[in-house]
Symmetry: C2
Subunit: 584 residues, 2 copies
């Protein structure tokens, strides 16, 4: 059926909506694809629904090709299963929770690992039933603290989530690979460039985890790549632990006066002056005091030692300490721990260990992997206005553990030896996880193996944000006039504009629309009579259908223009030529 | 793609699920279409999702034919709009309410009148923009007190809800008719017999309202039909008010002793003995004391006078007094009103009116339409053990109003003079409303008319429960072996069963499946190797695909059986004949 603009539910807006921050958000609202309902919650208008349906169709086809079968869970789920896996608490404020009339606890599911696990447990009992991969395309809810950027970080969003179930690790590898391959095909069909990077599994638990990132300077994720093929989200980047250094020739640790040097910069300048050395920030050991809030509400101080030329990367710190929440220690924390002398903190003192093993403070001391055995450092002496040099790791102090919270820099060595890495930014467009047995263990999903013994099933979890991808495609495909959809997901294949004043233009345009429709193309026909060609062209550019046919002055002579929205090229053609080009 | 049972996500169950009450609920679970998640909340398995998608496609096609355009709202909606129309309160416990992390009030929408009204207000401003009809197919939530009968009354359900917007009453009539016609086509395509009956608009407000009921003895709705074409839900049935009767010759009201006659039955027996008359229950006036709880929480007593041969119909009473809640008066109510002598209540006493105009009690007195001017009654005397006869309506008492809470009976006259009505039972499968200007008024939806003046838009609301219809179709199409889907919504067109032990049966079956698939049929192929033919046939009958091809012993000779699930007929045919029959 031809969609006629004269009665299509569409009003384009001239002005950018006030609250919209990013281009996709502005354009999707202005061009009549979505309307905001509440913070991070949107209604889908006919144009938006068409694009969404096309993306979903591509995903469904590739899921089916990968052997995944579609099911559908409700958004409203009872608490029990999420309680069993600990996520009822772990998700914190991100979860929309509610009660029914009988007081029962429910949630709006942010993801459905538990439900799928229980479904398979419910119906399957033997290794012969496996492998199976199930998926759904479903509306999910997360009560984001700062919903922003329109559909890019909403509180309601449509997601394709798939879950694989296998009796063996090798089976999980195969199921994981099948989904990974399907994701590659999906993003190729959507015309979305992607990098597959190692990722942190986060709240999902589990082992192997990769993200599909679309590389773009406006992405909110940072990732690294080496020439040799290593790629990882910075949250998942790991630093190789250096080989131990022999410290037998190292001088003894020596305290020196360092007035007014609470920062690395002042310390380095002072030290080079008074010690007559050429030290750099990399020679200093910065000790950062952090406060962790654990799930049970308890607060714990930890000190992390990192090379002085590195900063704490907040996201890496969040991942390193999850599910605890991390923040810098506050004045109260320092007041309660007078042994920690602010600006002059270090692991060692003449009286013995201040931090680390057998320390006087009882505070856990964790270090960056670079603070490895035998390395020598300039660091705080735990005395106001004093530092100490030649403090040797393993000799003068022993950390309680290693932790990765230091920032990753261009030129850092990839952990697999594939050379230095380069930093880039990207937007997450998909995520594949090997969950392993975490959920199956928590919920008791076991099957009988070849020998008739119960074995715990191993799982994978695979997500694509449908509405997020739609926004990313919009974010990447536009100009100052409006949207420019790739043909794979465009709401219509062709936009026919009757641009003349005479009836003949309308007759010819209607005829073209009909012929294109007969050739199974989706046609939007601008048949509005009291609207100027200028306004019609503006709307066509804003809406962003990739091919536009302008039927104007030449209509009587059978001449039309074929306008390519992406390149801006306009070709004068006969009606037949135009139709031939569009339908071939 | 051919769906192979060997790896299809399906486990049929031999036993009926414990909690299932109705056939559709039992069979849809046993045959692997749905799985319960919580009371009235279900997950959709691959088979169920296929049937649901086919129903949705039929609905979408007919909505499109009727000129309706699809949009999609979130389930999670902010409180404000529902507050403005009063429904935030009116819906009571039926509403799932929740807070976000900032304490904002939200609900899971039970229906979306407000949202559609605001959307049109948001984008449209002129009568020229109208008419427009928008719809969505969307998951809705209602916290039913007693979710039951599986999908027939769930707490989550998929609904097609459409809303029309017009500048004039005539426009609304046309939009309403277009949806009504579309509903007729939808139910015809679904193979669902229906009666269109007048309905009460209930919480929706508005004027004209019709229900599509599927007539069935197990339906939970009661409706009436006359030979002359009148049809109404009993809740919407109205009684014609009789013409006034001249009371000039009526004897005076006279009190008489009637010991131990608190019921109509005992009263009639006693009266016929002591007064030597031939009265029946229809000559008595029964006065029922009801307690209303209004939305603001206040409790009000009302007395309703109905002919003694009628009972109170609870549903009609609910509708008559909505949005107030109704219950019988309790002991405390009677204790507070000593003038109401239980078992002997009447509107009149020798001291004057007890109920009705200028009554001593101050309680509202409402009467059935049959208690009309000049009618004479035997009723309570408001004195213990005494009744009164020849109490004349309009002479001895005047009611405060008329109300319809008496039950409707076979043989009652249709209000349009089309003859006596007959009672029948049915299941609601669709509902069309003329909302009028209620929502547009509450939310300020106005457009400029031809004269440049603001006029309030008039609206219609049109609903079909997608998942409910699926359950009704299942409820109507089954036998003791399982489901029997009509071909329009069957999960597959053909179920091919490889029933032999030899490879040749599998080869032939696979070939048939392929040929049918090539002819664009949806094929389920039972290729399981270690499953007996008996189990395969049982599964085929339970799952209920309308056409089954059995490839067994005759496979080597090119002979198969074509099994019609509905009639049970099995025809021995050559492979080519079978394919020809299935594809023609």
């Amino acid at each position: 059926m031809i969609t006629r603009l004269s009665n299509f539910f569409l009003r384009t807006l001239r002005e950018d909506p006030a609250a919209a921050e990013v281009t996709s958000h502005k354009l999707l609202i202005r061009a009549g694809y979505i309307r905001p309902q509440a913070a991070g919650i949107f209604a889908w208008l006919p144009l938006g629904l068409r694009v969404k349906a096309k993306i979903e169709t591509i995903i469904r086809e590739e899921m089916s090709n990968a052997g995944a079968q579609e099911v559908h869970f409700p958004a409203l789920m009872p608490r029990e299963a999420y309680e069993a896996t600990g996520r009822w608490e772990e998700y914190g404020d991100l979860l929309f929770r509610l009660n029914d009339r009988k007081g029962g606890d429910y949630l709006l599911a942010p993801t459905h690992e538990e439900a799928f696990t229980l479904l398979v447990k419910d119906l399957y009992s033997s290794y012969k039933d496996l492998p199976i991969t199930l998926y759904q395309i479903q509306d999910k809810y997360r009560d984001e603290a700062r919903p922003r950027a329109g559909l890019l970080r909403g509180r309601e969003f449509t997601m394709k989530d798939a879950y694989s179930f296998d009796a063996s690790d090798a089976g999980l590898d195969a199921s994981y690979q099948a989904q990974r391959d399907a994701y590659e095909r999906i993003f190729q069909r959507l015309g979305l460039e992607y990098a597959i990077v190692q990722a942190d599994a986060g709240a999902m638990g589990g082992s192997r985890s990769e993200e599909f990132l679309h590389p773009t300077p406006i992405g909110e994720d940072t990732f690294v790549r080496s020439e040799g093929g290593y790629a990882a989200n910075v949250e998942a980047f790991t630093t190789a632990i250096p080989a131990p250094i022999d410290w037998s020739d190292a001088p003894a640790a020596t305290i020196y006066d360092s007035p007014n040097t609470p920062t690395i910069e002042t310390l380095v300048a002072h030290t080079n002056t008074v010690l007559d050395e050429e030290v750099t920030a990399a020679d200093t050991l910065k000790n950062v005091v952090l406060a962790l809030t654990h799930l049970d509400g308890t607060r714990e101080l930890v000190v992390v030692g990192i090379p002085g030329d590195r900063e704490v990367d907040t996201k890496r710190a969040e991942v390193a300490f999850a599910p605890a929440e991390v923040e810098p220690a506050n004045d109260g924390d320092f007041a309660r721990h007078p042994l920690l002398v602010r600006g002059y903190i270090g692991p060692w003192s003449e009286q013995g260990a201040i931090l680390g093993e057998e320390s006087a403070t009882g505070i856990r001391y964790l270090v960056d992997p670079r603070v490895s055995e035998g390395t020598r450092w300039i660091t705080g002496a735990n005395i106001d206005q004093k530092h100490v040099h030649s403090v040797v790791a393993g000799r003068d102090f022993a950390a309680d553990g290693v932790v990765e919270i230091a920032n990753v820099r261009d030129g850092d060595e990839a952990p697999d030896g594939s050379g230095p890495v380069h930093l880039a930014r990207g937007m997450e467009i998909g995520h594949v996880f090997q969950l392993g047995r975490k959920y199956a263990d928590a919920l008791g999903l076991k099957v009988l193996d070849e020998n008739g013994k119960l074995t715990t099933v191993t799982m994978g979890s695979y997500g694509i944000g449908v509405t997020r991808i739609l926004a990313i495609i919009a974010e990447l495909n536009n100009d100052d006039k409006g949207l420019i959809w790739p043909s794979s997901v465009a709401p219509f294949d062709v936009h026919v504009v009757a641009a003349g004043r005479d009836q003949v233009a309308f007759d010819v345009a209607a005829d073209i629309a009909q012929q294109l429709e007969a050739a199974r193309l989706d046609v939007l026909y601008d048949d509005r009579v009291k609207v100027s060609p200028g306004v019609k062209f503006g709307d066509a550019e804003l809406v962003g259908v990739p091919k536009i046919v302008i039927v104007g002055r030449g209509a009587a002579e059978g001449q039309v223009e074929l306008w390519d929205r992406a390149t801006g090229e306009r070709d004068a053609l006969s009606v037949d030529e135009a139709i031939a080009r569009l339908t071939r």
